[in-house]
């Protein structure tokens, strides 16, 4: 169908605790091509952990195990920490949830973007500056020169998130992992940020992993959706067919949402079946 950028096979994330080992992610497999892949689930379902594990950002005592996490056939699990630094940012980038916590509050936006750029490229300051301005314009920031001089607290949430995306895109990664990139934003701004990400994915042929708890948003924005529950993938479906999803968990989540077009006195309450968390993970791999 399409060329595979990332192949994750049998991924486990474990945290040892006093009560025994806690499995945050349990045997997840999926592939990512040049597409927008959504991962949805409740808090604690392991969706963010999956994103972090791909970049090997889980620190001891956390344990990551996988048959393979292959980026273009290159197994990331076998790489040394030094080699991973060349992957992070360069090949796979990540956008975090809240720009307030991801930007350095005492550095100007410009200085941070230039620093990120020069980390990966040997250039002089003037070139880096020009590149940074160009990137800010690519994410629809109008007066880029002013923003370069501004500090993070002078930005609104939407602007901050766009700056984060600009910073992630400078090294021209093949894969962007967006962990709830719009949860901290208002609906009107949310749309703008999504449009920018969408445009970039299409133009540059990137693969996007979009982690979110918002089913409607994912159905609208992504191509394919993985639904996670208790560290496993319970269902994989086309985003456009999410409303016809079959698994009772997905159905339960969809029915729990209030809808403007179908008013009801009471919302349906999700009845959890203990069998969901023991059933083996569904594979999200495309052969």
């Amino acid at each position: 169908m399409m060329d595979t950028l990332l192949d994750v096979e049998d991924l486990w994330v474990r945290f040892p605790s006093r009560q025994g080992v806690f499995d945050a992610v349990r045997g997840v497999s999926f592939t990512l091509g040049r597409e927008r892949l959504g991962i949805v689930g409740e808090s604690g379902s392991g969706k963010s952990m999956t994103g972090r594990a791909i970049l090997r950002l889980i620190r001891p005592p956390g344990i990551v195990e996988a048959k393979q996490i292959a980026l273009n056939g290159d197994n990331l699990m076998e790489k040394s920490e030094k080699d991973m630094r060349a992957v992070r940012g360069q090949k796979i980038s990540m956008v975090m949830q809240d720009p307030k916590f991801s930007l350095n509050p005492v550095m100007t936006i410009g200085a941070q973007i230039i620093e990120a750029y020069r980390q990966h490229n040997r250039t002089n300051h003037a070139d880096a500056y020009a590149k940074a301005v160009e990137m800010l314009q690519a994410v629809s920031i109008r007066d880029a020169d002013r923003v370069m001089r501004a500090y993070p607290h002078e930005m609104s949430g939407g602007m901050g998130q766009r700056v984060m995306i600009a910073m992630m895109l400078i090294p021209n990664p093949q894969i962007l992992i967006a962990d709830e990139p719009t949860s901290a934003l208002d609906v009107s701004v949310q749309r703008q940020v999504l449009d920018i990400m969408d445009g970039l994915v299409k133009e540059r042929g990137m693969g996007l992993i979009f982690i979110s708890h918002d089913l409607n948003l994912v159905a609208d924005f992504c191509d394919r959706v993985l639904i996670m529950y208790a560290g496993r993938i319970v269902e994989v479906c086309e985003a456009s067919k999410l409303s016809q999803a079959k698994h009772p968990y997905t159905r339960g989540l969809l029915n729990a949402l209030p809808r403007l077009d179908a008013p009801r006195d009471h919302l349906e309450v999700l009845q959890r079946d203990p069998a969901w968390s023991t059933a083996p993970s569904v594979s999200g791999r495309v052969a």
């Binding site: 808090s43 609906v187 999700l270």
Partner: protein
């Protein structure tokens, strides 16, 4: 009328740093009605709730709750009649007080005698039950914590409940449970709700009428039927609707 707000202005700071958070807001809520406030962050919707409950000290205009005009200092009866539920249940409960202490202290402050029986009743009313009575907030899930916060707000038997984004910190499945609880409580106790949310579908589910706010001003008040038929007239209200569907 349970609540009547007339040309309410709320501001923070003074002189050069003065920020007008709410400008000439006017609306009224009938007894037993559920009224929604929607808008972007920074539009002043939460500030209106804080002004009603007495948490925003600098305001002008007229606010009438159940026929009594509000002054800068509020009588004790006011705090019995008006209660608020906050957005983040993680932040609004004392981390070192058990559920029993939280509810018991509230009941004591409001001068109730039969505290023990009332704590039992409150926990049953919010669907928690007795096994949660001696737990601490960190031993509860987000939804359970919000139930405790609702129980605390119900303790003085209020008539008007101010809900500031009561479910935005919760998962969709838990959001459904809390919204159902609020619907039931309103019906059983004849409560009046003023609810702030950025989620139009939640407001559409819970409220009969809503006000759309932008930059501290109410730009439109519309019924929920108009919301469902996408019949907003103000351009900003229209764009907000379009972005949410």
């Amino acid at each position: 009328m349970m609540l009547d707000i007339d040309t309410l202005n709320v501001w923070f700071g003074s002189g050069r740093d003065r920020v007008d958070a709410v400008k000439a807001a006017t609306f009224s809520v009938a007894r037993g009605e559920s009224f929604g406030l929607v808008g972007e962050s920074g539009s002043g919707k939460s500030t209106i709730l804080r002004a009603i409950s007495g948490l925003a000290p600098q305001w002008s205009g007229r606010m009438v709750v159940d026929g009594t005009p509000l002054t800068k200092t509020r009588p004790k009866a006011f705090y019995k009649a008006v209660q608020m539920v906050f957005q983040d249940p993680y932040a609004s409960l004392h981390p070192r007080h058990s559920v029993d202490q939280v509810l018991g202290e509230t009941l004591h402050l409001h001068g109730f005698g039969d505290i023990d029986a009332r704590v039992v009743k409150l926990l049953d009313d919010v669907g928690l039950g007795q096994k949660f009575r001696f737990r601490y907030p960190h031993q509860l899930s987000g939804g359970q914590r919000q139930r405790v916060a609702i129980a605390r707000a119900l303790a003085p038997e209020p008539q008007l409940l101010l809900l500031d984004e009561p479910t935005s910190a919760l998962d969709v499945s838990v959001q459904g449970e809390i919204l159902n609880l609020l619907v039931d409580l309103r019906r059983d106790r004849g409560l009046t709700f003023v609810m702030v949310s950025h989620d139009l579908s939640v407001v559409g589910h819970m409220c009969e009428r809503l006000a759309v706010m932008q930059n501290g001003q109410i730009v439109e008040v519309l019924g929920v039927d108009a919301l469902r038929q996408n019949a907003a007239t103000h351009p900003y209200a229209q764009s907000l609707l379009a972005a949410s569907i």
